[in-house]
Symmetry: C3
Subunit: 154 residues, 3 copies
């Protein structure tokens, strides 16, 4: 498998694991040293430091998912990601950078599917023991006005 293919597969896995509510497996896609942040397009364009969600290491990601599990005994919605093909920026010092557009739909308990969020992933990827892993994942949502509380990752 080429790095290109491994990165394509990593992004497919990223979306499907969230959609299956396998959030612990989703965390396993991250590198040992990693970060995950959600920011809005407005803030990025205006150079504002504000973030909607920030985890600067794997323990913070685990904590977040574990709190989420405790608070949400039942799933109130299901997610569905459809992610576009990546823009490949190439490799530098062992880090690959890609960007990819996403559309995220949610289906509620009444069975209605709706557009929830669109935006872009800006991601660096590192290979650990031969596996592509997320090093720094920035989710740039096209709007911070997200219709419900930001509970699960995007």
């Amino acid at each position: 498998m080429t790095p290109r293919e491994a990165i394509q597969d990593l992004m497919a896995e990223y979306g499907l694991l969230i959609d299956e509510d396998r959030l612990e497996d989703w965390i396993a896609l991250f590198a040992e040293r990693c970060s995950y942040r959600v920011v809005s397009r407005e803030n990025v364009e205006q150079g504002l430091p504000q973030v909607l969600m920030l985890c600067t290491n794997k323990d913070m990601l685990l904590d977040r998912i574990s709190s989420y599990r405790q608070v949400n005994e039942y799933n109130f919605h299901s997610d569905r990601h459809v992610i576009g093909a990546p823009r490949f920026h190439g490799e530098q010092a062992g880090l690959w950078r890609i960007e990819a557009s996403y559309s995220l739909f949610q289906t509620d308990v009444e069975g209605v599917s709706r557009l929830f969020s669109v935006g872009r992933y800006d991601t660096t990827i590192v290979f650990e023991h031969g596996h592509a892993r997320l090093r720094d994942m920035t989710v740039i949502v096209d709007t911070a006005a997200i219709p419900t509380l930001l509970a699960t990752p995007i």
Copy 2:
């Protein structure tokens, strides 16, 4: 062409043929022995056997499309699939398995495009005479509450 590329192309073709209303050509994407079923996520998660649509061989698929053609003299909507990159499970005994998220939009006669269904394909693929063909295609819709009658395949 690698099996990976042939499978990517098969899934692109799958969506575009439905969207072009070339349903007879769409059936030709299936293997000689094949099945096609539509189930809901709720049913899969609760282990219920209920299906929304089931064809266990190619003749059933042909029958279904032919009835559809007789009933619908005019097209009342057009479809548009946008399908995510596949998760590849590899090959076992000549069968390749993949999963892929889809978003399906419909445009009605008044020219309004709407989200119709989101969900996931879970598919086994076999190579016949060098061509990738669908062996067992399960469409897992995120909700069974689909706004109109299930007329065309998803």
Copy 3:
């Protein structure tokens, strides 16, 4: 990089550059001799020659973007493309043809993201100085009833 990969990357770039409002860089994806047109599915199916937008060379594309920049001092919306994997028709006399489904979402100043248009790209691609470039790009929108004025390219 194979032609297949170069074409995949070109289409990813196509969507992301529009979404970043980098329309001048988007024009640079076109070949020296090129065309860009937006037509509706109804018109294509009925063999009607009507087009929603037509640029038959690069200067026309540049003019259009430049007028757009003068009229729109501020961005009134942001775009988000999610494009499906291409159907590859192969190469003929140096021209590669592909088709790909797209979904296009817009986010307005109030922060609401909505489905804006779905449809299909039908594109010929030529390699110039080793780079994949758009020769003739036809955007077939599933409906001409697009909710706002057609300002930016699709």
